[in-house]
């Protein structure tokens, strides 16, 4: 063993010559389709070959003698994963750490728990962000609305200008929810994203959780599907009651596994264990890979922290390059994004078309240009005021209604983003536009 789990999560610097090389990184991701510029790590993540090998190994050991594996190897392997995760997210107690399939499952578990314990007589209120993940909103419908509760959505502005703006808007929204005076102005649960999906930006969760406490919100659930592997996570500092992050998005695990933190306190433990929905005789292999992942990330300079830092720097750099090339803008300031950033598109373009004709994988967000949007808040093409060579589409002063969410992960190169840049150039030169209703609904972001 290498000096205990805490050491393994803290291990940072290695001798220069044992840092993973670019060739080795390419090998680790050689199973990725070679002709696709994969700019969408945010949706389905990635898994390096060495972790896949560990996955396969566990799977084969299970198939070889499942009874023995489940009895002897499995409990220990699960414990190792959970212990490493406890250190990673700075939780106090091991029993606060549960492994579930994904953030969608965690949301259903928490909301089921809330709806079960609701006093049938009183109406209860749950507050959620307007841009919350679609599955979470449906879960609210299935469990909260159905049980007689009310859901209140808080609108946050986009494009985002500053942390202060988000904090102010959230505070206003929460006060408005309380003023509806349902259930005597008492809010049962607030659901806050750590990093929103579409459009994507980084939320100052610690501050928002603090506001919730001040306003007497009973419990706070942070949906941090994208957090582990893109931002440092300290659940004690954040202070939420429930916190979930997928490991198969940015933490190099294969599908699927997520860590669900439930703060040990006045909370009763979640009465519906996930095993009641999944059974226990299942394939746990994906949940056993945290040690293999730690080995992988520690081959990089600075370990997972180094990866996060470089992903952030690169995605910002690439985002700026694209926005400048197209004469558009970013959806948020650099300090309000992690490894993903929103880049304005010069016109409305289809995601499928980009995949099939240009080999570019990137999700597109259609931002409704509303009447309340001010001239400064709504970005316009070609209006950056700087002198630069004129582009063929400059004649149209279009309002930016489409944003691409680009990601950066260790396998990406500058060429991927150039491919995207040039695809858009080509589409514009060809005069391609799309009608509004041709926009595909993208639930998968």
């Amino acid at each position: 063993m290498d000096g205990g789990d805490e050491d393994q999560t803290k291990k940072k610097s290695r001798p220069i010559n044992s840092i993973i090389s670019w060739t080795e990184i390419r090998e680790e991701f050689s199973h990725h389709h070679p002709s696709v510029a994969r700019l969408n790590n945010g949706s389905f993540g990635c898994c390096p070959a060495s972790v896949l090998a560990a996955h396969r190994s566990f799977h084969l050991r299970f198939l070889r003698h499942p009874d023995a594996f489940n009895l002897h190897s499995l409990p220990f392997a699960l414990l190792r994963s959970r212990t490493l995760l406890k250190h990673l997210i700075h939780a106090d107690h091991l029993d606060e750490i549960a492994l579930v399939d994904n953030a969608t499952t965690a949301a259903a578990l928490v909301l089921h728990h809330i709806s079960q314990n609701a006093n049938a007589a009183a109406s209860f209120v749950v507050v959620v962000l307007h841009c919350a993940f679609q599955a979470v909103k449906k879960s609210l419908h299935a469990y909260v609305t159905r049980a007689g509760g009310s859901v209140f959505e808080i609108q946050l502005p986009f494009p985002v200008r500053s942390r202060r703006e988000i904090i102010a808007e959230f505070r206003k929204g929460l006060k408005r929810a309380k003023s509806l005076n349902l259930n005597g102005g008492k809010i049962r649960l607030a659901i806050i994203d750590h990093i929103t999906s579409m459009p994507s930006f980084l939320i100052p969760v610690r501050e928002l959780v603090e506001i919730c406490r001040k306003e007497g919100v009973e419990q706070v659930f942070v949906d941090a599907a994208h957090a582990l592997g893109t931002v440092p996570v300290d659940v004690k500092e954040i202070g939420a009651d429930f916190y979930v992050s997928n490991l198969h998005k940015w933490f190099f695990c294969p599908p699927s596994v997520a860590v669900l933190y439930s703060r040990r306190s006045k909370n009763a433990p979640l009465p519906i264990e996930s095993s009641m929905w999944t059974g226990t005789k299942r394939d746990y292999s994906a949940q056993l890979l945290v040690p293999a992942v730690m080995e992988f990330v520690n081959r990089f300079e600075g370990g997972i922290e180094g990866i996060m830092k470089r992903n952030h720097e690169n995605v910002v750099e690439m985002g700026k390059m694209l926005a400048e090339s197209w004469g558009t803008n970013l959806g948020s300031p650099p300090d309000m994004c992690a490894s993903m950033i929103m880049v304005g598109l010069p016109s409305r373009l289809l995601r499928t078309h980009l995949r099939e004709c240009f080999g570019v994988e990137v999700p597109i967000y259609h931002h409704p240009a509303t009447a309340t949007a001010t001239a400064t808040a709504t970005a316009r093409d070609g209006n950056d005021g700087e002198s630069r060579p004129p582009r063929p589409w400059d004649k149209e002063d279009g309002v930016i209604t489409g944003y691409a969410r680009i990601s950066h992960q260790v396998y990406n190169t500058v060429d991927d983003y150039h491919k995207f840049r040039d695809a858009i150039y080509k589409l514009l030169q060809e005069g391609k536009v799309c009608k509004q209703n041709a926009f595909e609904f993208d639930p998968m972001s």
Binding site: H31, H32, H33, V36, R38, N40, S43, F44, G45, C46, L52, R56, L60, L63, R64, H65, P66, D67, A68, N70, L71, D101, N102, A103, T104, T105, A107, A108, H112, Q116, Q134, A135, K138, S139, H141, A142, Y143, R146, A147, N246, H248, P254, P255, S256, P271, I272, S275, M276, W277, T278, G279, T280, K281, R282, D283, T352, R355, E361, P363, M444
Partner: protein, 455 residues
């Protein structure tokens, strides 16, 4: 098993009419010159099994042949190569294909009636959630009943408690005899329990009936019980058939239940986890939802279940490869079932004779698993003894077999308190059971008792 194949052919040549039926449904893929899978090929398909273990517990975790594991890896690789394209272009099609095959396998009317979930436990949660809403929404009266068998699977019992008792429902357990001598014994107990359930004008909203109980393992006469439920005004019937497809006869129209759940990773050669949930078309099924809610919520249970967030769906996509595998066997899945049944009865009787004990049920009340009494001198006196003995058999003798503790009833003196549940699947050989026979004989001659293990 080579002997088995020869016997089968001999029967056919002699026009043996003891086999009551040929496979009912046409095989799903026909080849003009069929040559069945050889003994060697079967060995190769299961060469990943630990060769030092007599694996006679297919009932717990099932098995997965190499060719299906290879197909699974292929699906996984396609996802990893380009996950977005896979999600948009391949996943839904693949799941629909699996569902269509399953629909034909179980003789259901429409593919809409077939949903794929993780396992029977998930299916139970789905059905029970609907029941819980019935109580919460006032459709059911407090005290209305849900009926289940005493030998219902542990996690299903827990779910019934969590969803029904919490919501104000009354749970009735049907006591079942074990050892059991005939189907009539079970039917009689069931009828009595229904009477109790309906006492005080209560309505029985749901009956949860195992098709094949787990421990102890007995095939329940579900067709008869469903009929009785209909006659006695039970509103809905859910058959929990964790051991269903590939183990016993699974014909939805014949059984006539409202809901039927069967694991496919136990007896249908799929990797974990995949199960079928059949829901007969009715107004009620519109209110069935998967507990994990995605953006597909409201599009019908089958569609909801086909996307519950990012996961590895490969176990659900390999069903076509499994069909290819089973069709390499004489008689396809029907042939496999018949031979498993014959062999497990034969081996069970061999063991009971060798140990001087008896079977837990008559041969016609078992499918591909059977309970055999263990010699009383082994001194199995509690649940813990069964776990310890099982571990002892695994570690000292290389035999994997689950043991059931059968508590003596009032007034019983000398009775068999321990039963082993042996399974038979295509990879088993007679040697596996001989190994078990000899292990127990050795324990007996060594004067072994379970008290030695709990020290």
């Amino acid at each position: 098993m080579e002997n088995d194949h020869h016997q089968h052919h001999r029967h056919e040549l002699n026009g043996d009419s003891t086999k009551p039926h040929a496979p009912k449904k046409p095989r799903l893929s026909l080849s003009s010159s069929f040559s069945s899978i050889t003994e060697f090929e079967i060995r190769s398909e299961f060469s990943h099994h630990d060769p030092s273990i007599a694996r006679i517990n297919n009932g717990s975790f099932g098995c997965c042949p190499r060719s299906v594991t290879a197909a699974q890896m292929e699906w996984q690789t396609r996802f990893l190569a380009q996950p977005d394209a896979f999600y948009f272009n391949e996943l839904k099609k693949g799941i629909l294909h699996s569902r269509t095959i399953i629909k034909d396998l179980i003789n259901a009317d429409h593919v809409d009636e077939v949903s794929i979930v993780d396992n029977a436990t998930t299916a139970a949660a789905i059905i029970l959630q609907q029941i819980a809403w019935g109580f919460a929404g006032g459709k059911f009266r407090p005290g209305d009943a849900v009926l289940m068998l005493h030998y219902a699977y542990g996690s299903v019992k827990k779910s019934i408690e969590a969803y029904v008792t919490r919501a104000g429902g009354h749970v009735i357990e049907v006591p079942l005899p074990f050892p059991v001598n005939s189907e009539e014994e079970i039917i009689s107990e069931f009828k009595k329990a229904l009477e109790r359930g309906k006492a005080n004008g209560r309505k029985i909203r749901l009956a949860v009936i195992d098709h094949v109980t787990s421990m102890p393992c007995v095939v329940i006469p579900v067709k008869e019980l469903v009929k009785i439920c209909r006659e006695e005004g039970v509103e809905q019937v859910f058959i929990d058939a964790a051991h269903g497809i590939g183990c016993t006869k699974v014909d939805m129209k014949e059984i006539g239940a409202d809901y039927y759940a069967s694991n496919l990773h136990k007896w249908f050669f799929c990797p974990p986890s995949i199960a079928l949930l059949y829901c007969r078309k009715s107004p009620e099924i519109l209110d069935l939802h998967h507990p994990v809610v995605s953006h597909e919520y409201g599009n019908g249970l089958a569609i909801e279940s086909a996307w519950i967030g990012t996961r590895d769906y490969s176990p659900q996509l390999v069903v076509p490869s499994v069909v290819e595998f089973v069709n390499r066997f004489e008689g396809g899945i029907e042939g496999i079932k018949e031979r498993n049944h014959e062999q497990v009865v034969k081996m069970g009787e061999m063991l009971a004779n060798a140990w001087g004990t008896k079977l837990g049920c008559p041969p016609e009340m078992c499918a591909s698993m059977i309970m055999i009494g263990l010699p009383t001198c082994l001194g199995i006196s509690c649940e813990e003894d069964t776990m310890n003995l099982r571990t002892h058999l695994r570690e000292q003798f290389g035999v994997e077999v689950p043991i059931y503790f059968r508590a003596p009833k009032n007034g019983e003196t000398v009775s068999i308190t321990g039963y082993a549940r042996i399974s038979h699947q295509v990879y088993n050989k007679e040697e596996d059971y001989i190994k078990f026979r000899n292990a127990v004989k050795q324990l007996v001659s060594d004067g072994f008792t379970c008290t030695l293990l709990s020290q």
